[in-house]
Every structure is written in C-alpha cells, then in structure tokens.
Symmetry: C2
Subunit: 148 residues, 2 copies
C-alpha cells in the first residue's frame, strides 16, 4: 500500500473522494433530481420542516440559491412552502409525500450502486473501510479554523 506520508495520503484521498462522488451522481440523475436538489430534499425528509434560511445554512448556500432550489422542488411537487404562523415573514418548507417517497427510493438506489462498487472489496478491506469512515467522521467533526 505504498507510502504513508500524510500529505501523499491527503492528495489521494482528495482525488478519490472526487471520483467517488462523480460516479454516484449518476444515480442521483436517475432520480431525475440534480445533486443540490436531492441534497436539499434530503434535509427536508430527514430534518423535518425548516425555514428557508435554515435550509440554506444547512446546505451551505445563500438564501437566493436555496429559494430557487425550492422553486424547482415545489414545481415538481416534491416540497411545499407553508406559512409560519408565529413569524409571518418566514416560510416553513416541508417535503411532500411524493418528495419523501422519491428521495427514499433514490437514496436506496444510490446506496445499492455504491454497495455494488464496494462488493469488490475483500472482507479485510471492508473492515478497513468501515474503520476509516468513522475515523474521517470523527476528524471532520472538528470545526474549521474560521469563517463560518
């Protein structure tokens, strides 16, 4: 398994992450939803009703960008803007039943795709993979230095 210099690992990890997500995007496409739309819908499905600003923050985009994503989800009948009774400026964005169903199906498809890729790994490699994933989860919990 070659060198273990950290910068070298970092470079390859970066590259492999890019290629992995590129591959998985194809499954998202099958759902008829782009990555950003699928991701926003996912937050709605798993995170419950939220305001536009909250959703924008969760997806790390600005409010106008999120507004347009919601427009698209709404036009497709996958999400809905509802009035917030306690704050008439705000909107509550919720996934529709159709949106929830589509997302869960798409998610299952994407995971089947990735699972199929991972089936090429040996048992030992799978164990290492599982360990590495949780390591990365831990490391990424540490907040970035600033500007957030």
């Amino acid at each position: 398994m070659s060198k273990d210099a950290l910068p070298d690992i970092a470079q390859q990890l970066h590259s492999v992450a890019i290629h992995l997500l590129r591959r998985l995007r194809r499954s998202d496409d099958q759902m008829g939803l782009s990555g950003p739309r699928a991701s926003a819908l996912s937050v709605l499905v798993f995170g419950g009703p939220v305001s536009l600003a909250q959703l924008a923050k969760a997806e790390q985009v600005k409010p106008p960008t999120m507004a347009r994503l919601i427009d698209a989800l709404e036009a497709a009948g996958l999400a809905r803007r509802e009035a917030d009774k306690s704050d008439l400026r705000a909107v509550r964005i919720v996934a529709t039943t159709k949106g929830r169903k589509l997302l869960l199906e798409g998610r299952a498809r994407r995971l089947r795709e990735l699972t199929k890729i991972l089936e090429g790994a040996t048992a030992a490699e799978r164990a290492a993979l599982a360990g590495t994933v949780s390591t990365l989860q831990r490391l990424l919990k540490q907040p970035p230095p600033a500007s957030d």
Copy 2:
C-alpha cells in the same frame, strides 16, 4: 467498531465524502481557481501536454465544456494552446510556468489543510486510511455498468 453491513458503510462513506470535499473547497478558493479549473490545470501539470479531447475525457466532461475551461485558464495566463504538428485539427494544451507554480502552491496549501485534519488520526488509522484509499482507487477503476 460499529456495524459492517455494506449498505451501511456505503451510506456513511457517501456522507463523509460530501463533507470532506465541502471542507476542502475552501482551500481551492484561496487559489483563485474554481474546482473544475484547478482540476483541469492539475491534469496539465501532472499529466503533461494533452489534446482537448483527452483532457475532457480525463475530467469527464464534454469537449465544449473543457474548451471553456481552457479559455479561462489561457486568459489567466495559466495554460496555453499549442499547434499539434502531426495533426492540424488538434491542439496541445500545456500548463505555463505561472500555471504550474500556482497549482503547486495551491495544492500544497490544500494538502496542508487536509493533512492538518488527518493529523488527528493515530498511526494505525493512518495506515488504514492509506489502504482504504488505494482500495477505493481500485474499485473506482472498474467502469460503470453502461453509458460511458
């Protein structure tokens, strides 16, 4: 260390890849180059002169998309189109010295950032990480089922 069911690993791997790239994008921004531009320049710097079609294929985009990326790199003085003497239709795209320098500096910065994140890993975790990265590289080499 948690469950090792493949679909579960797949789900978490997907999620962690997304969060990792989100984090690293910040370093790319510091270089003044968008992700796609930095990525294309990287191929030029490390892969030597290539045709537009080859570069498009390497980056998994269509030729017109790559042409515009090269336009931008050229306008910034980071790459150059050269004539291919053996095929007058083709162009040879090369990184300029300035482009090479910028990319190497940016790459160093990004890798310092990721390296800093990875420093939180134990020696054993780093070894597992290196192994997992090459496993994933191997698995992703397998072509997708179709449409490519």
